[in-house]
């Protein structure tokens, strides 16, 4: 038998809540985290909104010296990690840290700090502090969390941006099944910065009003930020210490479109394949799937391709499966999108509530599935998928199931 992997801890920082409780309440109420940008001056941009994290005060969590050294991305990651670690009761139980590892997904990472450095450097205004450059590596948040909590197991960082933190869970699962670790910290963290904002803006992929996945009026994404951290644990290890088992990680799939650097394969062929690979790996049939957390970026092409891919896998049943596009509320958090959405998927299984896709008003004939419009619904969910797709056709699909106790 393959080792079974369960989720025992969750932590989140997002535009709609900086704790699991607040985040989940906002999701099921359909709260929108989109606001005017404050991280930089957006006046010269066509679009001026983002799903920024608010009510986050670094002083509540870190010393003044730490604040100087930690990028915003690091701060989100560490705060979400602490919540996940505590909720898994790993702060209290004696565990062998040699067998606790970490894999996080990165997006733009600490580029906000690096941006600050090079802005001053290139404009020759003043001599910037080299300490801003320690965030130059995408591995910084991963290393900081490992160092803070003394994790001596395997450690790495995945870097496929929009699907990074979903991929990180697949890698973490392999590390547990290879017996390199009993517990893996996984997920991701990312912060809004002008570099990525201007990039998506230059590709005309940002909606000026709100993020409206699967709606005919959709014009693109709203960039978000935050962190979503999950604790993956080998089942026997979790049972032995009587850990709170939130759900089971059943499997994952990763594949490539091999199609285009930014556009998804239009017929959903890559989406279909990645979901099939994931279901196959999990040993789950399409009939058993009860809910899907869509990638749902609200770009015109993604939503059509994803809809087509879902139809190919689920056939007639596709219309029955409730789909959530929570990017309508938390924005597209890039390097942490997969982590935050995996947290939402686990909470969906746990609570039997499907979070809605908000701002959904005008149906698109090309997106004709059940996207759980505007209102959350109660539904017993045994198995749920979470999709993440990235530039270049880097697709990831995760499969979570209710832990059945045997």
């Amino acid at each position: 038998m393959k080792k079974r992997v369960v989720i025992t801890g969750l932590g989140v920082v997002s535009a709609v809540g900086n704790s699991i409780l607040e985040f989940w309440n906002s999701l099921i109420e359909g709260k929108d985290g989109t606001k005017e940008i404050t991280a930089f001056d957006p006046s010269l941009y066509r679009t001026k909104i983002a799903a920024e994290v608010s009510d986050f005060y670094a002083e509540d969590h870190f010393s003044r010296k730490e604040i100087r050294r930690l990028s915003r991305c690091d701060q989100f990651g560490i705060v979400a990690f602490r919540e996940a670690w505590r909720s898994a009761r790993l702060d209290r139980d004696p565990i062998d840290k040699e067998k606790v590892g970490i894999v996080l997904g990165a997006g733009s990472g600490g580029i906000l700090s690096v941006e600050k450095y090079f802005r001053d450097f290139y404009q020759g205004l003043k001599k910037p502090s080299p300490s801003l450059l320690i965030s130059y590596s995408l591995a910084t948040t991963t290393d900081l969390i490992a160092i803070e909590s003394g994790l001596k197991g395997p450690r790495t960082t995945t870097a496929t941006v929009c699907s990074s933190s979903s991929a990180s869970m697949g890698v973490a699962c392999e590390m547990i099944q290879m017996d390199l670790a009993d517990v893996m910290v996984t997920g991701g963290s990312d912060s809004l910065c002008e570099v990525s904002y201007s990039g998506f803006s230059s590709l005309k992929l940002i909606d000026p009003e709100s993020c409206k996945p699967f709606d005919r009026r959709r014009q693109g994404l709203v960039i978000g930020e935050g962190a979503g951290i999950l604790i993956l644990e080998e089942l026997e290890h979790a049972l032995k210490r009587n850990a709170p088992i939130r759900s089971e990680f059943l499997g994952y799939g990763i594949c490539a479109d091999a199609y285009h650097l930014t556009a998804p394969e239009p017929n959903g062929e890559g989406v279909e394949r990645v979901m099939r690979i994931a279901l196959n790996h999990a040993g789950i049939t399409p009939e058993e799937v009860d809910a899907i957390n869509a990638h749902g970026t609200a770009t015109p092409f993604n939503d059509i391709a994803e809809t087509r891919g879902i139809k190919k896998v689920f056939g007639e049943r596709a219309r029955e499966i409730p789909i959530s596009g929570i990017k309508s509320m938390v924005g597209h958090c890039l390097g942490s999108a997969g982590g935050i959405e995996a947290v939402a998927t686990v909470l969906t299984l746990e609570n039997g509530i499907i979070p809605p896709t908000i701002h959904y008003e005008v149906p698109d004939p090309l997106c004709d599935l059940n996207y759980t419009p505007n209102q959350s619904i109660k539904r017993d969910v045994q198995v749920a998928l979470s999709n993440s797709f990235a530039f270049g056709g880097n697709n990831v699909c995760l499969v979570f199931g209710k832990y059945d106790g045997v």
Partner: protein, 437 residues
């Protein structure tokens, strides 16, 4: 197919006893841990040679790729050296229409993939594209493209942000270029974790092949030496001569070592299940047989100071430590890492330490996050030819680094198995174990 499924479920060392059907008839292709994995192709784009022949010749002759930096002004730095690539004719490897879409690091890695595929004799068109994958490691990916993008944004505001630059600036663009260029549709993942980026990419590929979830995975990666990267390394005090007294240079294990000289390049391995390789009559360089990983927590810019984690990674990877005859060291001419790695080797091999030959190829190709791919190609060639390349630049071997370092001339030796170490500042340590075929 049925055997494959069963094996996938049972392919775990410690679960063997609980899985009676695990013993399968054709044990030549599978061992107790699953499919056997072999290296069947090498693609190298390095400062000491493009293609395995030129690279290997220069490796054995101890020719360094380190020269004064070309292409940007380093007069304001204390350092002036780098191991940069020679002029590479990328048109020889990449279709012209696709070449336009790629930035420099994209071109470097895609060319290495072309070389690796050609070397392996695999015709992608004849393979199932879903059973082929890419697993790439890069520390800083398109650092130059990111910088260009940022500078034009600073200069011209939002209108200066160039969409074409942005789409190639993401770290996964490199693996995407490869998948698009060759139509490779299976697993596609990019790792970025400082100096262990490529080692992790190979470890992940190994695991999937072992489980029978792919037939062939192109694994490895690379990095480019760009001006912003040079600036960052210099500002963080990582470059030789740093605060050191001695001259600037790459001198792993030398008592006067004082920091790294940056390099660049890409190394790609064709990793393949033994079953698939035999079926197509492939040439095999070596077998990949183990992976070990461990984290240290000495500080964000610190290596594993005591060598405990490096030792743990090596001992988990090398399941038959008594057969290890060669170690391709991570030693990068920094005071801390070279000493820690020495401690680690002694911890794992004790009395046998002196019998094990050690070299650091970084002495010739410089240090960079994605160096593991090229160094793994070096290990494959070492096992295949039974010759150990020397470590260059050493004048006075540090008494604290008293390993059996191969100096001066290459050494002929029958090598049963070898370890490749990757050690990152911040504390990620990975060791990969390879056996002679």
């Amino acid at each position: 197919m049925e055997f494959e499924m069963r094996n996938a479920e049972c392919g775990l060392r410690n679960m063997r006893s609980e899985c009676p059907e695990f013993r399968i008839p054709n044990s030549k292709f599978q061992n107790s841990e699953g499919h056997r994995v072999v290296i069947t192709g090498l693609g190298i784009v390095s400062s000491i040679g493009v293609g395995k022949e030129e690279f290997w010749k220069n490796c054995l002759q101890g020719n360094s790729g380190i020269r004064p930096i070309r292409g940007f002004d380093v007069s304001s730095y204390r350092s002036r050296l780098g191991a940069q690539l020679p002029e590479v004719d990328f048109k020889a490897f990449i279709k012209p229409a696709n070449l336009r879409r790629m930035d420099r690091i994209g071109r470097i890695v895609v060319s290495a993939v072309r070389l690796a595929l050609d070397d392996s004799g695999i015709d992608v068109k004849k393979e199932d594209p879903n059973r082929m994958g890419m697993s790439i490691g890069t520390g800083l990916g398109s650092s130059d493209t990111v910088d260009q993008f940022f500078r034009s944004l600073l200069k011209d505001g939002p209108t200066g942000a160039a969409p074409l630059l942005f789409q190639t600036a993401v770290p996964n663009a490199i693996a995407s270029h490869c998948s698009i260029e060759y139509g490779i549709k299976g697993v596609n993942l990019t790792f970025s974790h400082k100096e262990t980026s490529t080692e992790m990419a190979m470890a992940f590929a190994y695991r999937l092949l072992k489980e029978g979830r792919a037939d062939v995975i192109l694994a490895g990666g690379g990095d480019e030496l760009s001006e912003p990267l040079y600036h960052v390394y210099s500002m963080l005090g990582a470059l030789s001569p740093g605060r050191g007294k001695g001259p600037e240079g790459m001198r792993p294990f030398d008592q006067d070592r004082n920091g790294v000289v940056l390099g660049e390049g890409s190394g790609i391995l064709v990793l393949e299940t033994l079953e698939h390789a035999e079926k197509r009559g492939a040439k095999m360089y070596a077998e990949m047989s183990g992976v070990g990983m461990a984290g240290s927590t000495d500080g964000l810019l610190r290596y594993d100071l005591k060598g405990d984690s490096i030792a743990k990674a090596m001992s988990v990877a090398a399941k038959e430590p008594s057969t290890v005859d060669y170690i391709c060291a991570a030693a990068n001419s920094t005071p801390d890492l070279d000493r820690a790695e020495t401690l680690a080797v002694k911890k794992v091999f004790g009395e046998r330490t002196k019998e094990i030959s050690v070299s650091s190829l970084k002495s010739m190709i410089g240090e960079f996050d994605g160096s593991g791919g090229i160094r793994a190609c070096g290990v494959a060639l070492t096992l295949f030819h039974g010759v150990i390349p020397p470590t260059i630049g050493i004048e006075h071997l540090d008494p604290q680094c008293d390993l059996n370092v191969t100096l001066g001339q290459p050494k002929k030796k029958k090598i049963r198995s070898a370890l490749l170490n990757g050690c990152a500042n911040g504390g990620s340590n990975i060791s990969l174990w390879f056996k002679r075929c």
